[in-house]
Symmetry: C2
Amino acid sequence: MTLPAPARIGMPIAEVDTPALLLDLDAFEHNLDTLDRTLAGRMVRIRPHAKSHKCPRIALIQMQRGAVGVCCQKVSEAEALVDGGVTDVMVSNEVVGAQKLSKLAALARRARISVLADHPDAVDALARAAHEAGVTLDVLVEVDVGAGRCGTAPGEPAAVLAAHIAGKPELRFRGIHAYQGGAQHLRTPEERKAAIRSAIDQVSATLAALQSRGLAADIVTGAGTGTYLLEAASGVYNEIQPGSYIFMDADYGRNLAADGQPMRTFQHSLFVLATVMSRPTPQRAVVDAGLKAHSVDSGNPLVADIPGATFVRASDEHGAIELASPDLLPLGSKLKLIPGHCDPTVNLYDWLVCVRNDVVEDIWPISARGAFY
Amino acid sequence: MTLPAPARIGMPIAEVDTPALLLDLDAFEHNLDTLDRTLAGRMVRIRPHAKSHKCPRIALIQMQRGAVGVCCQKVSEAEALVDGGVTDVMVSNEVVGAQKLSKLAALARRARISVLADHPDAVDALARAAHEAGVTLDVLVEVDVGAGRCGTAPGEPAAVLAAHIAGKPELRFRGIHAYQGGAQHLRTPEERKAAIRSAIDQVSATLAALQSRGLAADIVTGAGTGTYLLEAASGVYNEIQPGSYIFMDADYGRNLAADGQPMRTFQHSLFVLATVMSRPTPQRAVVDAGLKAHSVDSGNPLVADIPGATFVRASDEHGAIELASPDLLPLGSKLKLIPGHCDPTVNLYDWLVCVRNDVVEDIWPISARGAFY
C-alpha cells in the first residue's frame, strides 16, 4: 500500500509527479534556527512533537540540535520512531487497551519511553503491562489546564493520581503534562497570554498539591507552536513540545503578532505540489489535489506565490481555484498549496520530497504515516 | 509505511485494535442487493466508483454481480485495481502530466482503460502518449451538467471536443461523462430531481450536437448514490457509477426521501471502531479516533447504537464525545463511529476489517490507499 516516491533526487520540481508533499529545506532550517534563537537563555528542554512530521529523519535532526527526545501520540507511532533510531519518545497521550499497552511496554526495552495517565484504572493497566514485560515505565499525569480534552482536574485530583502512580513499583512518576491545546490558535497575543497565564496558575496549584504529598514533578511539559514562548518564560514549565513550527500551515499563519499583523516567526516550509488538470472556464482552474491530498478541517489551503489565485473548494480528488485573471495557471502548470492544517495533511503521504532552490535534494519516508494504533 | 492489520480472522470485534475500519458484511451485502433490486428492469450498465473503496476485492465482488467494470479517479488507483485483477477501469477524470499519461497508456495494454478529456490540449497529449505506447485509448468527453467542477460546456463545445478526439487515430471517442456531483447531497427529492432534470436536458442537447456532426456516444455515464435512480430512468444515461452506496456515511444519511424522513435505501456498513481512552468528566468521553482516523470535511461522525453519545469535536488523534449520562462509555469500552464522509476516511486506512455478527470474517487490503498520482 506504499507507492513509489513521486520524485528522484536531483530532479527539478517541475518534473515531480503530483500531488506531492514538498519540504522547502531553506524554510525548514530557518524554522529550526528560529526556535533555538527565540529560546536562547530560557531554561527549558525542547521535546518537539513528532505527530506533525511522523518522520524519524526529522526527529533525528531535531535531536542533533539539542532536543532531548520527541513526543508522539500513538504507540505505533513511537514504534516507527524508535525503529528509525529515535532513543527517547514521550507518548504524550493516554494509552488504553491490552495490545497497545503490551507494545508500549515492549518498546521500553529498546528506548526511553514515557506516557501519560489521567485515570487510576489506566495507571493499574500500565503497571500490569510493565510488570508483564519486566520494565519500568515513566508516567506523567495529564492535567487539563483549559484545553477541555483529556486530563485530570488540576491541583488535588492530579496529586491523588500522581500518588497512585508513585505507589506502583513498575512505574516511575515523572511529572505533569499540561498542554493548553485550545490556546495555540487563539488569534491575538492577548488571548494567548490570558489562556497560558491561567494554565500556569493551574500548573502551580498542581505542583503545590504534589509538594504537600511529598511528590516532585521532575518534568513539567506542554506548549505548542502558538504559545511556546509563554510557557518557556513561565518559570514552571521546564520542557516544551512544539510541533508545527517546522512546517507552519495556513491556519497557524492566521495567528497575529503584537503589531496586529500575522505572526511571521516561522516560515511556510510545507507545500502540496499540484497540477492544473482542467481549465473549464476563464475564472476556474481545477487541480489534482483534493480532500485525499490535504486536510481542510482548519480551512482551505492557500495558493503560494500566485496572487489572484484562490483555492475555494475541495472535493475528494479535485481542488477548485478561482482566478482573478484568465491568464493565470494554464492547463498543466504546477503550483504549491499551503495546507490548511499540517498534521493531518502529512499523514496522507508516504514521502516527503525535500527541495532547495527548486531541485529535489532528498526524499524522506514518513515512516509513521497511518500509525494510529 | 504499512502497519499490520489490527485484527485476525476469527477474532471478536471486542479484541480488534483501534482505530480500525470495519465493514459490516451483512449491511454491505444488503447494499449490493439493494442496488440491483432498485435497478431491475432499467437498461443501464453499472460501473461502480472504486474511489470510495480503493479495494480490488470489492471491485471484483461488484463485477461478479454484473458491473461492467469500475470507475476510479487516478492513474495510480487504476494500476492498483488492475494489479488486483480488475479488467475494465474508467479513469473518470482528466489526466494531465507526462508521467501519468505514460502510465495510463501502459496500463491500457493490461486492461480495458478509458479516460476523460475536457480540453483539446489534453486530447493531444493523450494521443501522443497512446502513440508512444502503441495502444488505442478510449476517451469520453466530460461535460459539465451543473456540478461546476471540470468539463466542457454542454452542446456544441462538447461536440467540438468529441470531433477532435474522433480525429485522432490513437484515440476512440466513446461517449460523454455527465456527472452531476453537486446534486448527490441535495437534501430533498425535489431538489435532486430538478438538478438531474437539468442535467438530462444538457446531456440531450449534447447528444443532438454530436449527432449533427455524425458522432455517436456509445456511453453516456454519470450518477452517484444520491441520484442514480433518476439517471437510470432518464432514457439518455446508459451507464451509472454510484460509489458510496456500498458504505453510506453520515452525510448521505441526511438525504431525505419523499416522505420527508431520512432516506434508508442503503444501510451504514462502514464504521470506525474506536476505544474510549479518557473519561475526564462525567459528561465527556474521549476516543482514540480523530482527524487522522476519519474525515470531518462533511461533518462529524455519528456514534452508532449508543443513544445519548454525541461526537462533538475532533482533534488530530482525539474525538470528544458528549454523554447524556455518566454511565455511558466507560474507560476502555469500544464504540463504532459512522464516518461523516466515507471516501476520504477509507483513504486513511490500509485494511478493511470485515465483520459479521461481531466476529472478523475477512480482512481486505485497501490496495489503492494513498494512490493519488
